[in-house]
Symmetry: C2
């Protein structure tokens, strides 16, 4: 594993200091569509990986984890182009992290692949699935996201399906892992503001103070 990336402690500290705001765990994830235009949506941070059993916010890894429906557009976008940039603004401490890197999707068919934990992707999916609330789990049994809205007159139970298995994730459940290779940390509170750029050259992390 080696050491933590130099931006990981500041990011964990921001999470901690903003923990009273539930939406401080929401960030915006940009990918590129097949037509070359950008896509951008809010996702919920689900912890760092590989975590090797530690508390998810304080784990050993430098990867950011999210969960998504495998039927969502971003799954197809990532398969064609894994490049992504997450933008994470923390309202209370007034700081921004821009995290550029590659996204990896862990889906139901990846049972034999090895996750960043050195465990099967199946184990990773199971763990993040079991950490969801029952209401969040239920959404993975809903009709396809982005599809024509289900007519509740014709299909009254479309959004009230039998609850999925609480232990074994359904095929619609996917885990996303972002592995950053460049991070831009801006702290608005300074005067002038502090801004540090971190980048990984394939061997190790470097950092440089830059103008805000």
């Amino acid at each position: 594993m080696g050491n933590l990336a130099p931006w990981r402690s500041p990011l964990a500290r921001a999470l901690h200091r903003n923990r009273s705001l539930i939406y401080a765990r929401y960030l915006q994830l940009a990918t590129v569509r097949s037509d070359g235009t950008p896509a951008n949506r809010t996702v919920v941070f689900r912890g760092f990986g590989p975590d090797q059993g530690q508390d998810q916010d304080q784990g050993l890894g430098d990867r950011l984890r999210f969960v998504t429906d495998r039927r969502s557009e971003k799954i197809a976008q990532i398969a064609a182009n894994p490049a992504a940039e997450a933008c994470w603004y923390f309202p209370k401490t007034r700081e921004q992290f821009r995290l550029a890197g590659r996204l990896r999707a862990w889906q139901g068919g990846d049972l034999d692949a090895v996750s960043g934990d050195g465990t099967g992707g199946a184990k990773l999916r199971s763990r993040l699935w079991q950490a969801l609330s029952a209401a969040a789990q239920l959404q993975f049994a809903w009709p396809s996201p982005g599809g024509d809205r289900q007519d509740l007159d014709q299909n009254p139970d479309a959004f009230n399906p039998p609850p999925p298995d609480a232990i074994a994730p359904p095929d619609t459940f996917a885990v996303l892992e972002l592995e950053p290779h460049r991070v831009d940390w801006l702290q608005l509170r300074g005067d002038p503001q502090d801004r540090i750029c971190f980048w990984h050259d394939g061997d190790r992390w470097h950092q440089r103070n830059i103008n805000p």
Copy 2:
């Protein structure tokens, strides 16, 4: 002008209902870099355009305005690829707008061009410049954003320059205008959540209810 786009009233309402949170005016703007990877950063909403003199949040236009430093990377990105997607999450009302469209930059050299207001770009730039605080104006006289951090031992006044003219914008001041052609509005409060997709076909706006 014609009528407002059908997503404009919901967006203005969200702005109004979240007005107690200063950061509800912050959104994330994704563009594409020249190497085909996405870029994503937080920007501050500066009003709708064309506004024809109305209150900026309630103006007649369907375009979203931001200000930026013309030395920032996004200016070069937009020149090569004007496609953008803004992601705007409103914490208090728990709703998200994803606004995909084209970005236009108004810079110092655009004096003769006509903005969406039917005025010269110079007038648009002047108005948004004069709406900035003195502290915000000062940043446009700072060293180039993203460049190596100025050494305050060698250049102690790098971030304390003479204040720029409060009336006439400097060449570093640029206005960005996003003209959306597709908007995805998600309201998390419903059960199931409500989600509407709006799109402009070159002639008029259409809308469709979709699955969340």
